[in-house]
Every structure is written in structure tokens, then in C-alpha cells.
Amino acid sequence: MLKIENLQASVADKPILKGLSLTINAGEIHAIMGPNGAGKSTLGYTLGGRPGYEVTGGTATLDGTDLFELEPHERAAAGLFLGFQYPVEIPGVSFVQFLRESANAQRKARGEAPLSGGEFLKLAKEKAGLLRMDMDMLKRPVNVGFSGGEKKRAEMVQMGILDPKIAILDETDSGLDIDALRICGEGINAIMRKPDKAVLLITHYQRLLDYVKPDFVHVLAGGRIVKSGGPELALELEEHGYEAVAA
């Protein structure tokens, strides 16, 4: 589904990704771990097309489509969802308003009929319920005044509404309390653990992986995948640290 080959990317003329390759097939869940500053978020942003993240080499395709030929909104319509490490606050713009527009823009790009107001609200209510988030919170301006954990939960609600093919979830577990961690973990499984979908979890800890069991675990260090393995690799890392395991 997602095929990244020898990806090189720079931020502010500083090379961050230095030849990263990774293939994620439909139905798989992958986890990326790695030290602070390794380039994990940069990978997500580069795939998402964030301005300022310059691809200097390599390729990335989603079901055969060259992602780097697409604008950020077109990548979303192609099925790419990015759960942000630091979700942005947007005063004056409500979740329901922008999500309905976004969902319908995606549908239009895929040649699907738009959702009516009623249909959208029903969908939003269902996904908010799945993440145990009060629907009233979705009527508020995007992330404004939300706690760190609420923002992460709202990211998952958005993922549920937009129903992507592949989700790259950047430290979704950070900021979540114990119950919220379980709810988000179960939410990710309910929304994304399907034969035609895939997930890339970026995390520092095993705790999320207890709920969302990965098929593969990778270590990203110095802008490259330096080690890959099964779920046991995460436990090994947690016990011994990056230096010992991925040296």
C-alpha cells in the first residue's frame, strides 16, 4: 500500500531523512520508534506534504500513486491521514464545520456523492461515541482550549470520520491518561484494523502497542530505518534502550 524508497528530505536546508525505505502492505500495522530528533515526525510531515519539508531524493507511492506529485489535500483524498504530534488550534473554525467540508472535498475528489448535513452529523456522532468524546466538543473551535489528551482523542475522531486508507499516527499516545490510552487504542483498532487499511504508529513506548498490536516494529535513527523486527523488538528496546539494541 505505502512504499517508501530511499527517501531523503530536508528541513530548512538541513538533511533529516537520509535514505529511508519502508514498505507497508494492506492489513498491516507498523510501529516506528526512535530517539528524539531522529526524524520520525519529519517522515510524517514529508509524506503529508507540509510546506518547508523538501524531498531531495527517493520516492513514496500510495497504491502506486506518486505522493510527491500530489498537493497535501490530494494526498488526503488519496487516503493518507496524519495524526499530529501537536494538533493545531484554529480559533473561529469549528470541528464539525471544517470536517464536513473536508470529508466532502475528499468525496468529491474521489467522485463520490457529498454527505448531507444530517448524514455527516450522524457519522460524526458515531465516531465521537467510539472515542467517548462529547459531541459538543466537536462544535467548538478546532482544538482551542482542548487539553493535550483531548486533542489526541479528537485526532482519532477525525480519523474515524475521514476513514483513510493509511494513517500515520505521530505519538498519539503522548498526553493520554490511562483510560484514554485504552479508548484510543481500541478506537484505532475499530477504525483501522481492516484488511484494506494500514497504520504506521510513531511512538516512544510499548503502552500503546499493548492495545494496537503491531506486525512490525522499526527503529528510526539518524534519518534511516536501522533495524526492523516483530513486536518483540519494542519490548527489547524498552528494556535495553536504542543504543544497545540498534547500534
Binding site: G48, H73, A77, F81, I90, E101, A105
Partner: protein, 242 residues
């Protein structure tokens, strides 16, 4: 007041004098609100023709007035508002200016707190694209003895293009003690992080911009009697400059 002004006059510093000449002299629209009474009005300049308005508002003791302005669509649009507040009077201005191309839009205000305990608040939001110029010149005068005055100005402009110009000058002239006057003034561009966030969810850039500008402009019309109509007119004007 019948001679055509020059740029040496502060209130006409950024005016399009050639356009103004064709409109000159401007009849002054007088609005008087008696003590304890309330009033409200909205001025919408969204026609194709140049337009300039000169409004003078006098509020009696305890009177209240709510004025909303939408300055958009004309090659030259100018609105001058002079307000004099009596004791304990309240004045609120909510204004939006939307200009693109070679348009010039300006709002000039002079709010005089002549007596104690009056409250004035001004919110001005400008969206400027192309080579447009948007100006706000706002003077708040607190007369001698006008203690307990509360005057506020919140002035923000958003530049869609580097070629657009925003002039924002809130000014305070205070001759009394014990007054509370605050002004905030900012000229900026749309937040890139927010635009990327919206795009990542699937919103095309033009729609994302519009959504954010809509939110920005909407602040000018919150609580207005014609909030919906004004907002819609502003959105149409936005479409024209995006």
C-alpha cells in the same frame, strides 16, 4: 469642511484624493441618540462605485449605539465616523474591510469620551489582497474629567499577498485620570500551520483560506442584529478577492 482635504490632514493621509474629489463634498449623516435610548445601524459599501460616508454620532447620557461597517467592493471606499459619548454612554463598532486588486479601503474614527464612565469598543478586521491598501486611523479622546472611561480598540489586518498594504494606527489622547484604554493592533498573514492542518484533512487550499478568513472577519459582526446578512455579504466580498 467644504474644501477638498489634502494629505497633510491626518485623517486623509492614505486617502485616494482623486476618487474623493468626485464624491466631495460629503454630506454628514447625523445620528443622535437621546439619553437612555439605544440605536444600531449597519453601513455596507459593496457596490462597484466609489463611496465615502461621513457619519457623526452623538450619544446622550446612558445612551447606547452599535455600528457595523462592511467596507468592500469599491475601488475607493471610505467611512469616517465621529462619535461623542455622554456620561455612561456605550458605543460599539464592528467593522470589516475587504479589498483586492488596486482597491483602497479606509475607516477613520474619532471617539470622544466627553463625560465620565462611558465605554467604547472597536473591532476592525481587514483582509487585503493584490495591491490593495487598507487603512484604519482611530483616535480615542478622553476629555478632561471623563474619569471611569473604558476605551478599547482591537485592530487586525490579514495580508493575502505581499503586495498589499495595511495601515493601522490606533491613537489615544487622554486628558483624564482613572481611565482604562487598551489597543491591540496586528498585521499578519494566514497561519501556515493551520492551513497545512486543514489541507491534511482534505480541504483544498482556497477553501481552507476562506474558512480561516471567514472566522477572522466574523469577529467584526458577532452580536449584530444583521449578523447573518453582514457575514454573507462579507463572504461574497471575500470570494471576489481570493
Amino acid at each position: 469642511m467644504s474644501a477638498l482635504p489634502t494629505r497633510r490632514q491626518e485623517a486623509f493621509r492614505y486617502a485616494d484624493l482623486a476618487a474623493l474629489e468626485a464624491l466631495w463634498p460629503l454630506p454628514v449623516q447625523e445620528i443622535r441618540v437621546a439619553a437612555g435610548e439605544q440605536g444600531a445601524s449597519a453601513v455596507v459599501l459593496d457596490g462597484a462605485n466609489d463611496a465615502a460616508q461621513d457619519i457623526a454620532i452623538t450619544l446622550g447620557d446612558g445612551a447606547e449605539y452599535d455600528l457595523r461597517l462592511l467596507n468592500a467592493g469599491s475601488a475607493y471606499g471610505r467611512i469616517l465616523v465621529k462619535v461623542t459619548l455622554g456620561k455612561g454612554a456605550k458605543f460599539h463598532l464592528g467593522a470589516a474591510q475587504i479589498a483586492g486588486g488596486e482597491q483602497t479601503a479606509e475607516i477613520v474614527t474619532e471617539v470622544v469620551h466627553a463625560e465620565p464612565d462611558a465605554v467604547s469598543s472597536q473591532i476592525v478586521r481587514s483582509v487585503l489582497g493584490g495591491k490593495a491598501t487598507g487603512t484604519y486611523l482611530g483616535r480615542v479622546v478622553v476629555a478632561r474629567g471623563a474619569i471611569g472611561t473604558d476605551g478599547e480598540q482591537s485592530i487586525r489586518a490579514m495580508l493575502l499577498d505581499r503586495t498589499a498594504t495595511a495601515n493601522a494606527r490606533p491613537e489615544l489622547e487622554i486628558y483624564a485620570d482613572d481611565v482604562k484604554c487598551a489597543h491591540g493592533c496586528a498585521v499578519g498573514e494566514l497561519d501556515q500551520q493551520s492551513l497545512f492542518y486543514l489541507a491534511q484533512r482534505g480541504l483544498p487550499p482556497a477553501d481552507a483560506k476562506k474558512l480561516m478568513l471567514h472566522a477572522f472577519i466574523a469577529e467584526a459582526f458577532v452580536g449584530a442584529a444583521e449578523e447573518e446578512a453582514l457575514t454573507e455579504a462579507a463572504l461574497n466580498a471575500l470570494d471576489a478577492v481570493l
